[in-house]
Point group: D2
Chain length 368, copies 4
């Protein structure tokens, strides 16, 4: 009764998130990467192949838009049950989410989707009227959305795609969305002054921040096909780690011996020269995003973990707009984390992400 069908043989299936053209298997790289299908039948299973060295991926899924399951994934290739015993005739919408970001610290952490086991038929998944790309750091990776407030371990269990402001904003606007994010990273450097932890440098490839041969083999380092999915909005939430780096020791590039550090002046203010580096990075990234997404409105968001660099960020956004004549770029402050809305790892919790989604969805809807 149950049939196994390879993913590549299900053209009705809709893939979410940046990935390669390969469907045998389909590789999930990013937070909220996954697929969606409309299927009849009483039962559905998915065949996964999961690899990792240090950081295991987690998976969430929805049935008819309602979140029903979330689990840590074990290594290996195996079948996972998604639903059982449902009315065979009705069409069920099922969507799979990678609940973990692309883990740049673990070059073998991937989910691959091989096949579906089912007793029904597949139907097309309609495109949504709005498309949004979210670019960000740990906040956009949903870090801190699971786990008790006291938790401090940096582990996959505490990341979430589905609870994050990105997913919730998309739900409110009935939008498709993709996430391009990395915890600890920034627009000019990472929280620890590591200049390789700057997201713009990886924007043009599918997922080039994943290190190693496996990513090369999987095609993560290949150019991303921007033409294939042009967003209406690009939401950038970067700057929090750039701000943090002013208070961290210098980072030394082990390969070259070069050191890098963002400095404060003796009176505590940011050193103008370093601020200028940050601002140049903001402007350059905006230009890059514009090149790749000619028609999108770009919204730079900031504030869920403090406002430290806000004025310099705004100055850079405005300078970019003025210098280029690009008038489809703007800035939006998102609600700060409070004692009431904090999650685990001192990150914004579910309440903070909910508030952020309300603010952001309200703002974006003005342009629709």
């Amino acid at each position: 009764m149950l049939t196994d069908t390879m993913i590549k043989e299900i053209p009705q299936l809709k893939v979410h998130g940046r990935t390669t053209a390969c469907r045998a298997p389909l590789t999930l790289f990013w937070t909220a990467g996954g697929f969606e299908c409309n299927v009849t039948g009483s039962e559905l299973w998915v065949e996964l192949e999961v690899t990792f060295s240090m950081y295991e991926p987690w998976l969430s899924y929805t049935v008819n838009g309602s979140w029903v399951g979330r689990q840590m994934l074990q290594k290996g290739r195996y079948w996972l049950p998604l639903f059982r015993g449902m009315s065979p005739q009705s069409v069920k919408n099922v969507r799979i989410f990678k609940d973990l970001q692309a883990m740049s610290d673990d070059g073998s952490s991937y989910i691959h989707v091989h096949a579906l086991r089912h007793d029904g038929q597949f139907f097309p998944v309609a495109d949504k009227p709005v498309k949004i790309e979210f670019i960000g750091d740990s906040i956009t990776s949903g870090e801190g959305l699971f786990g008790a407030r006291k938790e401090q371990d940096w582990i996959p269990m505490f990341f979430s795609a589905v609870k994050s402001y990105a997913h919730q904003t998309a739900e409110k606007l009935d939008a498709e969305y993709r996430v391009f994010s990395q915890s600890g990273w920034g627009v000019h450097n990472a929280w620890d002054n590591n200049t390789r932890g700057a997201l713009p440098g990886y924007y043009k490839e599918i997922c080039s921040l994943m290190p190693g041969d496996e990513n090369e083999r999987l095609g993560g380092n290949q150019p991303h096909d921007f033409a294939g999915w042009q967003p209406d909005f690009v939401v950038v939430s970067l700057g929090t780690n750039d701000a943090a780096s002013f208070d961290q020791p210098a980072w030394t590039d082990e390969r070259t011996g070069e050191r890098h550090k963002m400095h404060r002046e003796p009176d505590g203010t940011y050193r103008q020269e370093d601020i200028s580096k940050f601002q140049r990075a903001v402007k350059a990234f905006l230009a890059l995003i514009r090149t790749c997404n000619p028609k999108a409105r770009i919204v730079w968001c900031y504030g869920m973990l403090g406002l430290d660099l806000q004025l310099w960020l705004c100055e850079a956004v405005l300078a970019y707009a003025r210098e280029t004549g690009d008038d489809r770029v703007s800035y939006l402050q998102l609600p700060d984390t409070t004692a009431e809305s904090v999650g685990s790892r001192a990150h914004p919790g579910e309440l903070c992400h909910q508030k952020a989604a309300q603010v952001l969805a309200g703002y974006l809807s003005k342009f629709l």
Copy 2:
């Protein structure tokens, strides 16, 4: 590095929910049945043995009180990972919940817990200051707390222990709790007039509503050891299905040929004779609960799916109190399901359960 330890060899582990004395394996019968442990180490797995014919059990678990995972369980005996990569020194509190009620329609649907795999040490789990037993129907079984509003399939996926008013009330009061509930059942008969679907008849055994040899073998039909866990409160939420049965066709006992039905009069009112049966059942159950729980305050709750039998219920509760002189029994109305708070299967949703928990916890706290 990882060690497998049998459950029976972990005296520090705390078992939740009615079950037998057997720990090799520990069998989970009821909604929210499970265990809780305090453990050091970086990693934890649980070895389950899952059986079912029609209705697969689901499992949820919390780490340090925060809900992190929920999944459909497959048949067989296997290891399930619970956490990885945590700080080895710190003590983690982990708690497992059976997310599905005892399934009286599937005599082979059980979760058995054999062992834990870990690299730490176990520490005792302190008793909580308050104990509550919840007795009820589908509402108390958390039916409708998962799934889209349009869902109508009666499947395990849509049941929840953790989102229900029972769990939330216990959390608010820092209480231990147990659930004794069955979807569709009542105090005198089930929604379809089936007189075997009356919960009081099963109250004195561990879990005698599960049919068949397997339950006999597992000990579910053995007398329950009330002395071993005396609750401060017994909360009874029954009556909704008794009310429904007045509008359902008669039920015929296939074994005896006898028919049973609760009737309305031609003018639509409840037939007094049948109402009296219901009221006698209420009074008898109160007396039974009192016998088994001499010191508990008993609160009969009603109203999350309408108030149809409220006045007769109150009359019966008062009659019981007056006839027996028992002054530790009372009645509490819980918030009705609204268009805003409804879940799947036309049952109370998460918002309705949250409101109910607020009302109930506020009420119970007056007696603490």
Copy 3:
């Protein structure tokens, strides 16, 4: 430009609340008594005549349904401004509310409305589709809805018509409403065992609980014209003071020397004989309400200040229904006052009344 028009010469004006047929002046007796008019012009004043000995009336008013003013009224006859400078052409809806209950302790406390000063024209006020009568005690009189939590003075300033659950329920259902209530009173006796403080004895007259010659002169002791305003719902919120009287000393009738007291048994339970008196009063009042309002659904509400008499109340309501065959009577529990929702004088505050209005409006809407 401004014209003074006597109330009796404005047939388009709609009077709210039980009152006499007199319109020269219109006398406001009860909480939320007042009038409503639709008027053009830029300016509006009202001519009041206010009398009192001890307890001064307060006045609230709305413009286009939005509450804009509230003030203590001074003695005398004078003009009060209601709006100025509005667009002359538009029709403004203005409604006046007596913010104070009929004060049975002050036989001279009244508001009389003589005239309106205006520069526009009056237009009819449409009837609302639903009518509700609220009968109750201090809760229904809105006691405690103004003032700081620490306030304990029993003064008019702390009463409110507009914030109360009665007004809010009516707003949610787009209903007309009237209030018949008295702080401290009950269905069988007042909080202090005074048997004259039982509301049913005054139900058939317009406002016969106001003592003295002035009330006689004003016509408050005349029979109420029930036929003129037949409610769809009668909501009775009594019992809280009856419950309190069990813990108060006896009351002695100064006129007859008779004493009255509701007793508890030595074990703390209510004395059955006294409970029976309470229950007979409940049944008799239901019968009286039914006689006066043949087509109304009667809902007895209870619980905003505890549930002490709930079971006996329900038993009496059911007994009434059974004995009379009246199937349009029911019981509804309202949300209890909590530390978060309490107002002044240890009474339910605005939040508690809001929750009560949600529950009650939701319940009543099922019958519409």
Copy 4:
């Protein structure tokens, strides 16, 4: 029993809001201007003298911090009752608020306070630990906080001191506050391009935006004594009307014949030359505020009615900080008005002001 005491003879009385040194009478100029007293006795009246030509002032007052009354004031000198019948021994805190902004369109609109009538004694009002000055436009004047959503008349009835974000922020921080605001005005020009409608030009006097001889006589044009009340925070909420002026026709100065207008370029963007004027005004105002308030943290807020000028505002704030080395100035975005939170006159309503107060109080508290 009741005594009349002139305000000037009550040294314990605390005056709120910018005003002159005159206490015979005390003149209230600005929104939330008023006084506060701690007084025993059973009764309290205030003697007001009210003048106006077009726009009548409104008055609100609190008793023990709870808002109990609000009314339109009539012309003339008269006594207004504030409380009656309270426990004589207890100390009551009473505070009077001018609910209307200084009305620059009506040079005779004032409230003067002459005396208090009472039967108790006055006690000192303690200073609050934090002081805040709010500078703004209609939003800070609380326009739109009363009245139905459909209202469009620009009249005093729809302004509120007590519901505004300024009052609520002060309450949350237990702060004293003053309001310096004018509806329709901006930092560089008013909504209609009128350059006289720029608040900075009036900042150094007590209330010099009120026109005419009466203001001169009252001392409103006298220099303000900044030393007498140094705020911890100056919150500036200006820019909304500056933004609006880009889409309004030119304004012609009737006295000089000069015209002024802020322009958009043919492509819809703001003309750089005009934006520069706005930015210079922002910087100059910051410098002026700093001069007058050497130790205050200055927070420029924006966003309750859109974000049009945000980037230019931020650029100017940053430029000011950089050029002067002033590091106690920052920018905060406040919640935008939504369909759910809008009030009358298309202005932010109570819900929007509540959210703004949460965000602002949370932000300011970080500096305490």
